[in-house]
């Protein structure tokens, strides 16, 4: 529950402070956000499965973000940044969908 409140507070803070994204972070932030969302949905699903572990959530969150950012970085260096970003977004989107589907089955048995 506390992490959920944290998410909400973070959104409010971002809206209020209106920070500008530093230039070096701009290619990575959207992908990192998607990766983190995947971790969050995975965590929620783990909670419903009854196998949630805080530490696992933290580690998976961080590794998700870092790997996603690294893939984008590598893609930019190789000259296929936009294509690789699309690929990462597709993969993470599929994972998010499957996680949401599992959550839905847990909550509504449907």
């Amino acid at each position: 529950m506390i992490p959920a409140i944290g998410l909400f507070v973070g959104v409010v803070l971002g809206l209020l402070l209106h920070p500008s994204v530093p230039l070096w972070l701009q290619p990575y932030l959207p992908i990192a956000v998607i990766a983190a969302l995947d971790a969050v949905f995975g965590g929620v699903r783990a909670v419903l499965d009854g196998i949630f572990v805080d530490k696992v959530f933290v580690v998976s969150f961080l590794s998700n973000v870092l790997v996603a950012a690294f893939i984008v970085f590598l893609g930019d260096q190789l000259g296929v940044g936009s294509q690789l970003s699309t690929g990462v977004v597709v993969v993470l989107g599929i994972r998010i969908f499957s996680n949401v589907a599992a959550i839905r089955r847990h909550l509504f048995k449907a």
Partner: protein
């Protein structure tokens, strides 16, 4: 990624928690409720920090995206935009150069036209003075010939005019008649006419030119003043700093004479 790992529960046996496919619905909700109960472990706090950062990042990214502009474009897109802008700028540069050339041409044309107008105005002024169609003013002399006996004839006045012209008179007026290139004097009984208008006595002659030169031309021995005296008339000369000649001559359009067209290209010697 949320790796689901076997979870060790306190109070329960170590081991893999196997999920029955048909868990009762209440179990799920109970688990959710339990998660809502705050457990301020270090990992939970860390997770809270992470989700807080995630929320912050989401809000930031959304705002950044809504601001739009070039900041969200990728490198190749930026390169394309830059290419477009560069092409556009070079096109506009070329246009600027073209317009500058045009402007310079127009400016020099205007200058030339202005110079031509000034020249034409000067020419018009001098020609108008020569033709007697404008009033003229300047230094000069006034010659007054008192001829009570009527001894002065047209030829004598013509001598006066010749003498004045010889001395460099630019504009001459006899009585109320402006003297031009085609002016003439005739005897009409006892009076004299100039250009068909009779002159009243005494004859007053105004001339613009160097006053000293004109006066000395009148006064030299054997000159106009002397010859008038011989005729029985008297002539007096006044040097004036300003002579205003206000009589005008109406030029007639020549009936017979035609200007010879000037050759536009000077003939070469061979």
């Amino acid at each position: 990624m949320a790796v689901r790992r076997p979870r060790r529960r306190p109070g329960s046996k170590a081991g893999v928690v196997t999920r029955e496919p048909e868990e009762p619905r209440e179990v799920t909700w109970r688990r959710l409720r339990r998660m809502f109960g705050a457990r301020a472990t270090r990992a939970n706090v860390l997770a809270t920090v992470l989700t807080l950062a995630l929320g912050f990042a989401i809000a930031t990214q959304i705002q950044q995206n809504q601001e739009g502009g070039l900041a969200t474009l990728r490198q190749d897109e930026l390169v394309r935009v830059l290419d477009d802008v560069t092409q556009r700028s070079s096109r506009l540069d070329a246009q600027v150069r073209e317009l500058e050339v045009q402007r310079n041409a127009l400016q020099s044309g205007a200058d030339r036209a202005k110079a031509a107008t000034e020249q034409a105005q000067e020419r018009l002024d001098s020609l108008a003075i020569l033709a007697g169609t404008v009033k003229a003013t300047g230094p000069g002399i006034r010659v007054t010939i008192a001829d009570s006996s009527g001894a002065v004839r047209a030829s004598a006045l013509l001598d006066v005019l010749q003498e004045l012209r010889d001395a460099g008179a630019e504009v001459v007026q006899f009585g109320t008649v402006r003297i031009v290139a085609g002016s003439y004097f005739t005897d009409a009984g006892t009076s004299i006419t100039a250009d068909g208008q009779s002159l009243s006595r005494p004859y007053v002659i105004l001339a613009i030119g160097d006053p000293q030169t004109l006066a000395s031309a009148m006064n030299i021995p054997g000159g106009i003043v002397d010859s008038m005296k011989r005729l029985g008339a008297s002539a007096s000369v006044d040097q004036l700093s300003t002579v205003t000649i206000d009589a005008l001559h109406t030029p007639k359009t020549p009936r017979y004479a035609q200007p010879v067209p000037e050759p536009t290209v000077a003939p070469t010697g061979g």
